[in-house]
């Protein structure tokens, strides 16, 4: 994975620490932004790319735990790696419960820091990719006509074209055309791929029950 375009946000009240960490991480080709306080970071515009936050636990004003809580509330997806001066068990428990990615003690070794950053970024990239995929699928679904949507929902339930045609009281040929268009619009190479997409996008399947079949026959 190419991490060169990933940005790391360092938040620490100590200028020396900020500067040295920036230097070290830049030497490893990361984009780095530094902030002297939690408030400074909050006033930055939202970042949508892949990255991670390296956060000092004890700071004047909003401390690390407070900032973490705020970011969780506002739905920020960036993973947080905590840096702490001394092993404060209580704080670390709170931080991990709030979903911190990692918890490192100062002074932090290069290897340890890089490993934590790498792990956080990989995890985040994976999550990010999934989200991206879901987004594309939802956009594709939005292009479907109501009839195509209906047919999709029958298809993922495992219904045959004939059954669908009978159910909708249309020609089997018409079902085939719709089905082809759905696959095309959803950019799915097979029904299996379509199934996976619908799973991600949480599309509900429509099943054809035998009673429904007999009922519709009578009509």
């Amino acid at each position: 994975m190419d991490e060169k375009n990933f940005t790391l946000f360092i938040i620490d009240d100590d200028a020396s620490v900020r500067k040295s960490l920036r230097r070290l991480l830049q030497a490893h080709q990361y984009q780095v932004e530094t902030f002297a306080s939690a408030e400074d970071y909050l006033s930055r515009e939202n970042y949508s790319g892949i990255g991670a936050i390296i956060l000092d636990l004890s700071m004047p004003g909003l401390d690390g735990i407070d900032l973490q809580a705020r970011l969780m509330d506002s739905g920020s997806p960036l993973p947080i790696i905590f840096l702490t001066g001394h092993g404060d068990i209580h704080s670390s428990v709170v931080a991990m419960k709030q979903g911190a990615e990692n918890f490192l003690t100062k002074p932090v070794d290069e290897k340890e820091l890089l490993a934590a950053v790498h792990e956080a970024l990989v995890n985040y990239a994976e999550r990010h990719q999934k989200q991206l995929d879901a987004e594309t699928i939802r956009q594709n679904i939005a292009t479907l006509t109501p009839r195509e949507m209906e047919i999709l929902r029958y298809v993922i339930s495992g219904a045959m074209n004939k059954q669908i045609a009978h159910q909708l009281n249309i020609a089997e040929k018409t079902v085939k055309v719709h089905r082809g268009r759905v696959l095309e619009k959803m950019q799915a190479k097979s029904v299996i791929a379509l199934l996976r997409m619908c799973d991600i996008a949480r599309v509900q399947a429509l099943t054809i029950s035998p009673s429904e079949v007999s009922l519709s026959v009578k009509n």
Partner: protein, 606 residues
């Protein structure tokens, strides 16, 4: 009826009765010489009355002279016992005076018998018959005065002086009853007898001499005093008995060991508690060597001590281990007194011992738990110091590590950017110095540094501190009230240090007001002169200090708020004490805390 005969006979009768009574008392108690002396006195007084009566009735000069001589002998026999009775009963220390009086009277008595007319006259020239108011006749002698009577008169004066001195002394010893009955009686009636005789001599009063009645009165007085003493004897006996019972009750029931040891170190008495304590029976303890009750390692010491006791007496307090019958060892704290017999020879010691075994154990446990507590306190202090140090040192250490590793990374590149490397090394040097400063300032906190003293106004120093804190105080709506005496002298102190103290105390007060309603957020700052000191007091109306925190509030690393290091007040104390002052904390009665420190006032500079 002859009244004179009746009166003098009765007087004699009373005297003889008293004499009998006293002789009886004396026979019961031979060692009480007072009874013998008073018997003699009473007998003599009776004899005087009889001779006086004979004198009143005789009309022969020869008989009169002889009776006078005898009369004076009886007076002698009354007065001398009286003098010595006073000596015995009033514990007069004027023994020499009593001896002089006795000698003078004895000499006078010789002249009494040499002179034909006794001590009173050289010789009796004639006997006059005189009549009383009621018409009875009695004899009075006429003759030239014997010059030796002067000796007797002087002796009488001496008796008055002697008795008065003895009575006054007895009075001062709070023996008022004796002083009045014996001393007062003797003086009053002797004066009465003397003055009455003078009145008769000068013819103003037409009665016979009534010396024997005066003596009777003295004898009655003394009898009363002596007999009332005798009457008290049964009461005293009861008291002695009650007293004895008290001691026996005490010895039998007291929870202390009491033993008597003879000069050989053998136990001659022990009380029941000692039996109970040791578990030995009375038989086993009686005449047992005290040495055998001690553990072997203490025996040599006790042996030495027993020898010392014979010479110098025991030490008032000592501690010995007693080995009980069960083999258990008990620690006893002894208090001992040396005893001597009637001849003044050393006869042993009496000792009272308290069992302090349990107390000693408790004390040992207490000491142990105290030292354990101290160890824990020290450990936690160290822990906190380490934690504080770690916090302060971690920042520069983090920077140094990251910078170094970044530099290493740069050096891996083909083209080393020397400018960047230079910057990095500079940063490393700076952070390293910073770490050094942390340690240095930590040490400064913990040690007394050199304080740069200067003369300044406490008020000015405080104003500067308040300027710094102005925003903080304003933001928290805290009102500060100043109450500084007009006559405050300048102080000689480290200005920065005193400002640090004021700053710390003020910040403390600000913290204390955190949860106080805004309208009640007051800090009072007072300064005045008291007992040669400038006394500065900072009062907040906040939550106050927890009682359990007060004793430790100035102890380093003792923090009452979770974020503090517990150094602020410890530093204040160190600074104030380095200036020769004191600092204390207490709670305000109506809520809040009071911190006050003193700075000694020094002689003004120029």
């Amino acid at each position: 009826m002859n009244w004179l005969t009746v009166a003098w006979s009765m007087c004699a009768g009373v005297c003889v009765t008293l004499a009998l009574m006293h002789s009886f008392l004396w026979s019961k108690n031979r060692s009480e010489f007072a009874y013998l002396l008073s018997t003699l006195m009473a007998l003599s007084a009776g004899a005087i009355a009889i001779t006086e009566l004979s004198l009143l009735r005789t009309q022969s000069i020869a008989t009169y002279q002889l009776l006078l001589q005898w009369s004076n002998l009886f007076v002698y026999l009354l007065i001398i016992p009286m003098v010595w009775l006073v000596y015995v009963r009033l514990d007069s220390s004027q023994r020499w005076l009593a001896q002089i009086i006795t000698a003078m009277w004895s000499v006078a008595l010789i002249f009494n018998f040499i002179s034909p007319g006794s001590l009173v006259y050289t010789h009796v020239e004639e006997i006059k018959r005189q009549t009383t108011y009621w018409g009875e006749q009695f004899s009075v002698a006429v003759g030239p005065a014997n010059p030796w009577v002067l000796l007797a008169n002087i002796a009488v004066l001496l008796i008055l002086v002697y008795v008065l001195i003895a009575a006054i002394k007895a009075w001062r010893r709070r023996e008022q009853r004796r002083a009045i009955l014996i001393g007062g009686g003797v003086v009053v009636f002797m004066l009465f007898g003397g003055i009455h005789s003078m009145l008769v001599d000068s013819g103003i009063v037409a009665t016979p001499y009534m010396v024997s009645f005066a003596y009777l009165a003295i004898v009655v007085n003394m009898s009363y005093e002596l007999v009332s003493d005798a009457m008290q004897a049964p009461k005293l006996a009861r008291e002695v008995e009650a007293n004895q019972k008290r001691w026996i009750d005490l010895l039998n029931n007291v929870q202390l060991a009491v033993i008597a040891i003879d000069p050989k170190g053998l136990i001659t008495y022990h009380n029941p508690f000692f039996e109970k304590l040791t578990g030995y029976s009375t038989k086993e303890l009686y005449n047992r060597s005290t040495l055998s009750l001690l553990p072997e390692n203490e025996r040599a010491e006790l042996n030495l001590r027993l020898e010392d006791m014979a010479q110098t007496g025991p030490r008032p307090h000592s501690q010995w281990t007693v080995v009980c019958a069960s083999g258990e060892e008990r620690q006893l704290a002894w208090s001992s007194v040396r005893q001597v017999d009637n001849e003044g020879n050393y006869s042993g010691i009496l000792s009272v011992g308290a069992d302090i075994t349990d107390g000693l154990l408790a004390q040992k446990e207490l000491q142990h738990s105290q030292s354990e507590l101290e160890r824990l306190t020290r450990a936690s202090m160290l822990g906190e110091l380490a934690s504080a140090l770690a916090h302060e040192l971690n920042q520069p250490l983090t920077a140094i590590l990251s910078n170094s590793q970044a530099a290493l990374r740069f050096m891996d590149n083909d083209q080393v950017d020397m400018g960047e490397l230079h910057d990095i090394l500079e940063d490393i040097v700076r952070d390293d110095k910073r770490a050094g400063e942390v340690i240095h300032s930590m040490r400064a906190m913990l040690r007394k540094g050199e304080i740069k003293r200067e003369w300044f106004d406490l008020k000015h120093a405080l104003d500067e501190v308040l300027t710094i804190l102005h925003n903080e105080l304003d933001a928290k709506s805290i009102q500060v009230e100043l109450d500084f005496s007009e006559d405050l002298p300048q102080i000689e102190a480290g200005r920065v240090e005193i400002q640090q103290v004021l700053m710390n105390l003020l910040l403390n007060a600000v913290r204390a007001l955190q949860s106080t309603p805004t309208e009640q957020r007051f800090i009072q700052l007072q300064a005045h002169i008291g007992q040669g000191n400038t006394v500065c007091t900072i009062i907040d109306h906040g939550a106050g200090i927890k009682a359990e925190d007060i004793p430790n509030i100035f102890t380093a690393f003792y923090s009452t708020n979770s974020t503090g290091m517990g150094m602020g007040l410890a530093i204040c104390k160190r600074i104030i004490e380095a200036h020769g002052g004191t600092i204390e904390a207490k709670n305000r009665e109506k809520g809040g805390s009071i911190f006050s420190f003193t700075l000694p006032i020094r002689p003004d500079h120029g």
